[in-house]
């Protein structure tokens, strides 16, 4: 980790690595990106509303997509997994990783400007880690999925 890395970027990296796991092929990586986007949407929807999340994600993508064409499959609505897969095949796994981290970082920073860094980091982390790879049951016990 670079000494000058921001907390937002650190979290973004952590979330992507958690989501991607050890995946290397385009399909798995595209799926991981779509799932992570879905988790964030479901998690942040409850805190800032569907409209609020879509607006923030849209702004984050507007900032990062011009320099990260691999993110073409992501939109403020549902992620297009096929488009993501194609983008990975075209640009490479590293490009997707960099793109997702950049997009997440932008999202966190935008949220931080509105509600403060500590809340933004907390909410995004809760949302990002509560995907199918880490769900909570009714009694609070964590279930892990394969």
């Amino acid at each position: 980790m670079l000494a000058s890395e921001s907390p937002a970027r650190t979290l973004a990296l952590s979330l992507w690595r958690h989501a991607a796991g050890g995946a290397t092929d385009a399909a798995a990586l595209a799926h991981a990106a779509a799932e992570l986007a879905g988790s964030l949407r479901r998690g942040l929807d409850r805190w800032i509303g569907a409209d609020g999340y879509r607006a923030l994600l849209g702004r984050a993508l507007d900032e990062t997509r011009p320099v990260m064409p691999v993110l073409a499959g992501l939109s403020a609505r549902e992620p297009d997994e096929m488009a993501l897969q194609t983008a990975v095949a075209q640009h490479g796994a590293d490009a997707l990783a960099n793109g997702m981290v950049a997009m997440l970082t932008a999202l966190i920073e935008l949220l931080a400007r509105i509600m403060g860094e500590d809340i933004a980091l907390r909410l995004v982390e809760e949302a990002g880690r509560s995907g199918p790879f880490r769900a909570k049951s009714r009694d609070g016990a964590e279930e892990s999925h394969g």
Partner: protein
């Protein structure tokens, strides 16, 4: 944060309702002990009245990881904005978001108007989290979306069902609604167990926030409007009638020295412990000096004191004390004296009382000085100034309930008026036990200061007027003005004081004539008349009566007393 419950306990075998500690200073007291568990409450008030802040503050105070708090946002303030501004309060702990405190934004569902779906989503979330407290913001905006008679009925039914569901899940809930007091007749409110109304009144440059319990099923809540303030710590409610004021400290025979030689004697030994004394006088008569001496006397006797000042900065006040040979700085440093400087111009009586009460309890004060009542009035918000007598009555009443001896100063506008003794312009003599009055008089070409004890409840006191001076050492009482009349006019005149008549049955003038005749051998009526200053016919009548009663004898035109050389 551990959940805290306040359970009032059973009284004589009667069941009671479990109460939740709201965690909001002053609120439990107003509610009658806390919020009844499982109750369905409405938090009503206009925009900016503090509903969301209060609701979140309660949420943070009551939530735990096992029994979290849930804030459901329907329509109104967006959660983004709400979090942005609410995080500025000290009670808002970001690290508890997602563990103890959860937020659910249902604005889209609310806008779509599918109330059944809305209910399902709420039920699902409540079932998942099993919260202790739920806040729903806001239901009035839901009514606005669903206009029309049938839609309004749907919303009312929705709220009914929601209340039922939340109660069966053993949840204490708060519905936030932008309602003013005049709008609390909506049928929706019949569902609520409690209706808490927040308001704010803007009057000139002051904003007064108030809190009222409009309805509290099964609770002995405090009636009336209670002052409320929102600071960085959140909401604080100042109960209108502090519970402590209901505890009356018994008074004994102990007296508190005023610290001024001679004045204690005028008051029959000093100020009775627990009394409320008012020192009234025009500007420049040394009221603050008297007050400082009272404080100093207490400190010398090991009695801590609280001084509430409204007109001077504490540093200036302490400097002035030094000038009159009273060192209060050291007392402040060692915690024997607390200076409370209150001058926000939108103060409420309750806040003033709370500040003073806290200080009294912290240092164990036995004396309280209010300098001055006039300054206190100016510091109050206009809304409280309108009925200042009531405000003062509550303040003094509550303070005397603490067992302290109170010394208040009040400026009298014009003590030289011919209407007599001007005590205060506030007509608050009824609530003071003791009254000292200062005034100016013109004597021998100088403006002098005069002091008198007007009233001491249940205690004898001097009735004389005493000249006094303000000296570098403080106050020095000087001679009495018992040989003067017309002191209350501001221009006293010296009078010849004759001894009281020793002849029972005689009128004063008759006794005076008798005294004059008795002092001489014989006197003629004309001469007697000149000495007493009465008209001749009146003197004749008096002399005839005295002769008739055989006090004096008449010999021609002369009169003499019996036994005198000129008499028989």
């Amino acid at each position: 944060m551990a959940k805290s419950h306040t359970s009032p306990g059973k009284r004589a075998g009667r069941p009671t309702v479990e109460l939740l500690d709201t965690g909001v200073p002053g609120l439990n007291e107003v509610l009658g002990g806390g919020v009844p568990a499982l109750s369905f409450n409405v938090l009503a008030g206009g925009p900016g009245s503090g509903k969301t802040t209060l609701a979140l503050q309660i949420l943070f105070a009551t939530a735990t990881t096992d029994q979290p708090g849930l804030f459901i946002s329907l329509l109104g303030e967006t959660p983004l904005k709400m979090l942005r501004y609410q995080r500025l309060f000290h009670f808002f702990e970001s690290k508890r978001l997602g563990t103890d405190i959860h937020l659910l934004d249902l604005s889209e569902d609310a806008l779509e108007g599918d109330l059944d779906r809305l209910m399902l989503r709420i039920i699902a979330e409540v079932d998942r989290l099993r919260p202790l407290v739920v806040v729903v913001d806001s239901f009035r905006s839901l009514l606005r979306v669903h206009r029309g008679e049938s839609s309004t009925r749907d919303v009312e039914q929705f709220i009914q069902r929601l209340a039922q569901h939340l109660t069966t899940w053993e949840i204490t809930s708060f519905l936030i609604g932008e309602y003013l007091e005049s709008e609390l007749r909506d049928p929706v409110f019949t569902v609520a167990d409690g209706i808490l109304l927040l308001s704010q009144e803007v009057n000139r440059n002051s904003v007064v926030r108030r809190f009222q319990v409009v309805k509290a099923r099964g609770m002995a809540s405090m009636p009336g409007l209670h002052t409320m303030r929102i600071t960085s710590d959140g909401v604080q409610v100042f109960p209108r009638i502090p519970q402590r004021s209901l505890i009356i400290e018994p008074r004994g025979t102990e007296r508190k020295s005023t610290g001024i030689p001679g004045l204690d004697e005028m008051m029959g030994g000093g100020v009775p412990r627990g009394d409320s004394l008012v020192l009234a006088g025009p500007t420049g008569t040394g009221k603050t000096t008297f007050a400082m001496k009272f404080v100093a006397a207490g400190l010398a006797a090991g009695e801590p004191a609280v001084v509430a000042i409204f007109e001077e900065h504490p540093d200036i006040y302490l400097d002035r004390a030094h000038v009159v040979d009273v060192d209060l700085v050291e007392a402040v440093k060692v915690g024997q004296l607390r200076l409370i400087y209150l001058r926000p111009l939108d103060l409420s009586v309750e806040e003033t009382l709370e500040e003073i009460r806290e200080a009294v309890e912290e240092i164990g004060a036995q004396r309280v000085v209010i300098d001055s009542i006039s300054g206190f009035e100016m510091a109050l918000a206009p809304a409280f100034r309108q009925d200042f007598r009531e405000s003062l009555y509550r303040l003094i009443g509550a303070l005397t309930g603490l067992g302290v001896t109170i010394f208040s100063t009040v400026e009298v506008v014009d003590a030289r008026s011919s209407s007599g003794l001007q005590l205060t312009g506030y007509q608050v003599s009824f609530l003071t036990d003791d009254i000292l009055s200062q005034r100016y008089v013109e004597m021998e070409g100088e403006l002098r200061k005069v002091l008198t004890v007007v009233k001491m409840r249940g205690s004898d006191h001097s009735r004389e007027f005493r000249i006094y001076e303000l000296t570098p050492g403080g106050v020095r009482l000087r001679e009495s003005l018992r040989d003067y009349d017309g002191i209350l006019t501001g221009m006293p005149s010296r009078q010849l004081r004759l001894p009281a008549p020793t002849h029972p049955g005689l009128l004063e003038q008759e006794a005076l004539v008798l005294e004059i005749v008795a002092r001489s051998t014989t006197m003629q009526a004309e001469e007697i008349g000149k000495q007493v200053g009465l008209p001749p016919d009146q003197v004749e009548r008096i002399l005839d009566r005295l002769v008739h009663l055989r006090y004096i004898r008449q010999s021609g035109d002369s009169y003499g007393a019996y036994g005198s050389p000129g008499g028989a």
